[in-house]
Amino acid sequence: MKKVLLVLPFLLIGAVVAMADHDDHGHDGSKKLSGVAVANNAVYQKECGSCHFAYQPGLLPKRSWAKMMNTLDDHFGDDASLDPKTTNYLKNYLVNNSSDNSLEYKRSKKITASIASNQIPLRITKTPYFMHKHNDIPKKMITQKEVGNIGNCIACHTTAEKGIYSERDIKIPNYGGWDD
């Protein structure tokens, strides 16, 4: 009995660690990573991150990135055109690091799995996984001026630049944390 009591705290700690959003190993032994891979490409940060949050390539499948990079002159209504060399360079970067090429990352895997194979979403916010995760958020939290739109990840996900979108790191301006 005494032995069981001594072990109990360690078991509890073990359970908590397993539940947390940390790196883990899957049943097949392959490395499982939380979140999505960091977008650490300087050209990408400069060229795409000057107008909006530099969404990690692991948030969309390669077919989406390829289509987007072929239509930069009408990028959600704006002209985001780049010279051909830069366009091609960034297209390769995005495709190589796309969600379907980053299945070891939890969010990339879930996003990839949520999109029907005949769909080519251009907005991350229109992928089924994203919509499912955000559908309970009251509109007023999104339309307030500190956030503006649902694509402004960094406004609420304080660790978005690190590719971490876990619930405990959410801080909605003027409202605070989020409990699903």
């Binding site: 055109s81 010279d83 739109n149 402004n152």
Partner: protein, 138 residues
């Protein structure tokens, strides 16, 4: 004709609106030659005309009324916010942001994009020069 162009370039270099770096100055000189070609009365770019281009409203690419100030604000020495994404834009004024108007490729990229977004067409050489003089003067 050649003499006129040479004179124009010399005058341009002398009257250089507050000092562009050599590559920017040569880009601006090229714009002047182009502007002169389509407007024989053209003498130099004008910050005043540039202000009109920068602040006037137009039905833009998205079908909504927009001006350059929608995203860049009307005080170019202050940071502003992209009206569509909420992302902060560093000040345009070279007086507070020394990176501005120094890289010809950057300048060309943004002039092309932003004229398309606000005017639904690319800017003429004269319009581009006018806007650059306006930003430089702020």
């Amino acid at each position: 004709m050649k003499k006129q162009l040479a004179l124009l370039i010399i005058l341009g270099a002398l009257s250089n609106a507050g000092g562009f770096n050599p590559s920017m100055q040569s880009y601006i000189n090229g714009l002047k030659i182009e502007a002169k070609k389509s407007n024989s009365n053209f003498t130099d770019f004008s910050a005043q005309r540039g202000e009109q281009i920068f602040t006037s409203k137009h039905i833009g690419k998205r079908g909504k009324e927009i001006s350059c100030t929608s995203c860049h604000g009307s005080n170019l020495t202050l940071p502003s916010k992209n009206a569509f994404t909420n992302k902060t834009i560093d000040p345009l004024s070279p007086k507070v942001n020394s990176q501005r108007l120094t890289d010809v490729l950057e300048v060309q990229k943004w002039l092309k994009r932003n004229f398309n977004d606000v005017y639904k067409r690319e800017g003429t050489a004269q319009e581009k020069g006018d806007v650059l003089y306006y930003i430089k003067s702020k």
